[in-house]
Symmetry: D2
Subunit: 259 residues, 4 copies
């Protein structure tokens, strides 16, 4: 199997300069290690815990930045979409369209995303069994687009907690589709801080190690130069200056796993 690819970037696109800084840093880090890299950012946090949560710079603000990131650093870029209307516009710029976990059963969104011909990364709903993702993926593939990634990001486990079931990785891989592990949202504590979600950053590498040892096509990790002051998902983002060392360890594990 091929080495894992890395999908990484800030939770939300905060500004052109911030996106360029993260992309440049991650391009350098992954280039040094020889890890295939996809830049990730969200232009809109469409399902914040509460109305007062910051949502990001929006689609029209973000698309030129994605284009600049892609061209300047020669990188594929990924972002998440929230309705059918966004698909064509985002698909014109971004290489990978991501379906948010809460929306992974919305048929029209999946079909509209499929029609762009781009790679579609579907996050597994927190309410879904891994074997149910084959039906979800089929909504895209039967719409004529075979380029689907499936991402595990934790399953509901009581209230305000997720658990990562690593049996889900081989089960989803039985579809023949590449499986990605999202180490950032898997340590999220949904709604766990009252008006926003909490998280346990210290377990990002723990769960990423488990995933890599089991075998994954990709890892998804959000990163920020100052997570504690980030506008969203701060509690579970990895500090940018810790990414290189963590990736080096994960890469060694991946090489051993894949022989």
């Amino acid at each position: 199997a091929a080495p894992f690819a890395l999908i990484a970037g800030p939770c939300q696109m905060e500004s052109r300069d911030h996106a360029m800084m993260i992309a440049e840093t991650m391009k350098r880090i992954t280039g040094d290690l020889g890890i295939p890299y996809v830049f990730k950012a969200s232009f809109d946090k469409a399902n914040r815990t509460s109305l007062s949560g910051k949502r990001g710079i929006g689609l029209s603000g973000a698309l030129p930045v994605f284009q600049e990131v892609a061209e300047t650093f020669d990188l594929p870029v990924l972002t998440d979409i929230h309705n059918e209307e966004q698909c064509r516009e985002v698909g014109a710029v971004c290489d990978i369209l991501q379906i948010p976990a809460f929306l992974c059963r919305q048929t029209d969104l999946l079909i509209a995303a499929a029609k762009t011909g781009r790679v579609i990364n579907i996050k597994k709903g927190q309410f879904l069994a891994p074997w149910d993702m084959k039906n979800v993926a089929a909504k895209v593939t039967e719409s004529g687009n075979p380029n689907v990634l499936l991402t595990e990001r934790g399953v509901s486990f009581g209230y305000n907690t997720l658990v990562s079931d690593f049996r889900a990785l081989p089960i989803m891989a039985e579809t023949g589709l590449p499986v990605v592990f999202d180490a950032t949202h898997s340590v999220q504590q949904p709604g766990g801080q009252g008006g926003s979600s909490g998280g346990e950053r210290r377990f990002v590498e723990t769960l990423a190690r488990a995933a890599v040892a089991v075998g994954v096509a990709g890892l998804f990790v959000e990163t920020h130069e100052d997570p504690d002051n980030a506008p969203s998902d701060g509690p579970n983002m990895v500090p940018l200056d810790q990414m290189a060392e963590m990736l080096k360890r994960l890469q060694a594990l991946d090489q051993l796993t894949k022989g």
Copy 2:
């Protein structure tokens, strides 16, 4: 407290005649019992387990039927919406706009629904704690619409199963908003039949009884004259000819509970 209101109807709007037949029957049954009644049907099953599941007659087909049902039988009508664009059109006809459980955190949908001024019934996500619904409700109320209902419909419990936590009813009631119990989807087994969801109809009354004894403002029950041949949610719909007796028992329980 006021007696419970009933939200009932077929899972999906199958045809004009079918909707009229169900509405007429339920109007008669609830009229005999003196139970306030809201007709419910879905014009689009937007998140079927698989692509091959029937989705219903669509928005343009359904709206005239909702209007006819409302006028012919002098009934409030409810349907669920799936994106912002539908809100205005549906809001022009339907009295209650329902936010599906998977979409209960989608801020723009909640705001667009709120702007219609209609009553908004928010289903609690299978991935949410009951105390997290106050943030969800606030997305509507802080958008200027105080008319919000909160509906419990089960929470994820392992794979392919939901459990109804009846502590959720008083916890959500602390918001001051009316709380509804959806006895149909609470007995759903998501994805439990491979390509479609299963369900356990025999527990609908069990859970409805528990909810009424705890105290609810409303009950949500899907019904069909021939559930085993219905295009969706057949396994958990109550046969139409059993509704009258079940409601009679639930009404007696409600009267005792509310003194």
Copy 3:
């Protein structure tokens, strides 16, 4: 169906005088209401969260008190047992031997309890499905003792939390055995206070109402004149001076339910 019986008393037997006081009070309350009453107390809390938790007055201290309670107030008495050796001695005095939830799969304990010929109340393990209790019950009935009660007391739901699945009541009733709902331990938060378990007393009546409306042969409720200063399970015991009113409401619900 017969009206529900009540199993009630302090979590642990604190002293002869305390047990007599509770028994006398509960005898009077239930006598006024015509509710069949079983006095309950534990002589040993054998599985406290931590070593420093108080364990009670022990078997030899407790048995004469059970006898005095039984004779003075003409009451059946129930206590829980923790190993085979205790069965004979306890069985000589107590009418009902209770198998703790953690121990409900211990074959030798079930057989030894069965051999006493007493009624055996088996608490359903927090780790068990309701349909698995038929195998558990069979360990007693196939040992020649048909007098078995099955008690629901919540099932693990994430960490430090239980949830009450009311589908479990009719499922366990399919065995033909009487089903009891333990409203005290169902609101327990296991280990939820670090060195001891927490609980949410305010939901005792909520869940008891749900259970009675669904239909139960018995209710199990722990009570104390000063729960906040009780040596164990204080957070989920009902104050003694609130029992009469709560039981009156539950009795009305039971009468309606059972027609």
Copy 4:
């Protein structure tokens, strides 16, 4: 950190010859690889799903075999105990006494086991949070025995299913005690076959890999020359002739993890 030790053997001790055969085979395999090895077998399956499940050869039959295994192959031996009375007798022969998961909160059993001075391996209850195990361990250490192992074996996740939460490994390691991962019982499906438990053998290595990559002091794996015809836990035991290759892969992962 030291390389992982392996606790392995048949689920139950079937006969002297069978135990000797497994011990000899595993001694050779682990000797070739340089993996510290502990022979494991149960003399009594005290909590079978149903009364008809085979329970093993019993304490008096098993102890001489443990002694012979220990002496013949110069191996430490482990078995599980079920009541206080067994502790002294088992402690005279076996190096490690194991507390079954269901019994991990039984104070007297923990104290009696502690008093033997032997190493005590406590399985984490399927109903417990990882942070609650420090209180459990303290029942042994505060009884004067510092030699405690903590074993993760899955946590309840809905009905008839367990999930392995790999955050539990570092959380339990914060106690300073060695943490073991039981890859056999973590893939158990409790009660999943009606009258007995099911399991998914194909995930044993999946979960073992995840555990080793996260970092463990020990692995626990049950093995049998013909699992499909074993008297218990057949569905989740690893065939004896597959152990060498699996251990080789896990050892490489362990060496990389521990640098």
